[in-house]
Amino acid sequence: MTPAILFIIIVNLALGLVAGAIMYRSDFCVAGMFRDLFLFRKTVMLRTLLLLVVASMVLFELMRRIGLLPLYPFPLLGSPSLGNIAGGVIFGIGMVLAGGCVVGTLYKMGGGSMISATAFAGLIIGSGLYAEMHPWWTAVSKKFSFLQGHITLPQALGCDPILLLLPVTGLAAYLFLRWHAQRRWEVASPAEGYIQPWKAALYLAILGTLSYTLIGMPFGITNAYAKAASYLTNIPVPMHVSQVAFYNTVPLKYTAPVSQVELHGGPGPFFDAIAYIQFPLIAGIVLGAMIAALRIGEFRVYFRVPARQYVSALAGGIILALGSRMTPGCNIWHLFGGVPILSMQSLLFLIGIIPGSYIGSRLLVTLVLSMRPEVSA
């Protein structure tokens, strides 16, 4: 292993450890932010998500202007397609049924949640299922693609990003100050070691900027789920894996900004760039959350959960994985990384995730949480 690759592994592990601890302490659940809007008309966490997006917008643009983001837009983003919306809808349904998004599942699992561990298994199964439908979905998505060769909105409009970013950040700054005056940022929580979500949003924006600057991309982990599926499928049926088109794709090809090493990676069962960027990040988030939970005596594993909730988590994980591969990318990739640079794929994903979360919320309440508890005197 070269020092450049070791550097990438260590940076991702470190970023994951810090992000996992912050997410656990603040319960920074993106799935919950959208779900609670529809179930409880609660918007405080969505406000913090907007803060994260706008803070990332400002930090990314600042870094780009001073020449620290040579990869702009970052790798793995592509031209928009209506398939991004469809993927977002499916993703939204899945994340609510799973009880967390692809990252929320990790930090909750780190805290000892068996529901999230079940959703994690679903994510790997779903990624494996997507591999089988990849050729069909690629054809459908291409059919509905548009603005070929353009990745971001400023690119499509042929203007400097600042012309679009300034009015957006200006309006957001006005709203943020208004909410500050109305004291709508603080969450009154008696949970030990609680980090206010608005602070967590700013910390995560800084971590995302560090990832973009040091690795060349903001946080993203869903290709690793597909890679885990290929590794596991490769054990019983290696011949099949070698013939599946999806596992032979190499979508990641770029030169890492700091180490200047050529990186290649895909979902196949090989120890490539996807493995040493995303596996350490996943491990870091789980471990960071676990350490944070252990330090305040909250790491506990409870198995006695209604079977219906396990089924929901498994099905949700599978649906979530299908949505993340169809989009492609997850909410962290698009909302923490793509939307701040006005990636059109990410904006379309955002459009899709809203009705998806609504449908997921209705399904969760109707099918999963409708049962009365077992009561004994």
């Binding site: 949640s113 929580s189 949970a191 005596g297 909250e298 506990r300 909730q309």
Partner: protein
């Protein structure tokens, strides 16, 4: 998930459950037992490991006119829900 009725405290152990089960479950039980709760005949005690629920449940039951008390135990939280003090005084 089990509940037991002892010394006028109805205990629900909903640790480990999917989000937002804790809040939805609690709201439903508070509604079901509202008469006994308002009359001060019972209290509800929720055992949860959901950190978010320690904020959302008190917020929701306070808006419904109940008092609450959150206490950290070994690896989880207990949220007690009872009738409002002002109501006790009025009685």
């Amino acid at each position: 998930m089990k509940a037991r009725d002892a010394e006028n405290i109805v205990v629900y152990d909903i640790r480990g459950q999917i989000c937002p089960s804790c809040l939805l479950f609690t709201l439903r039980e508070v509604h079901e037992l509202r008469e006994a709760l308002k009359e001060g005949r019972i209290e509800i005690l929720i055992k949860t490991d959901n950190r978010d629920a320690t904020a959302t449940i008190p917020d929701a039951v306070a808006s419904m006119g109940y008092d609450h008390f959150v206490e950290k135990k070994e690896g989880f939280y207990e949220i007690r829900i009872m009738r409002h003090k002002q109501q006790k005084l009025a009685d």
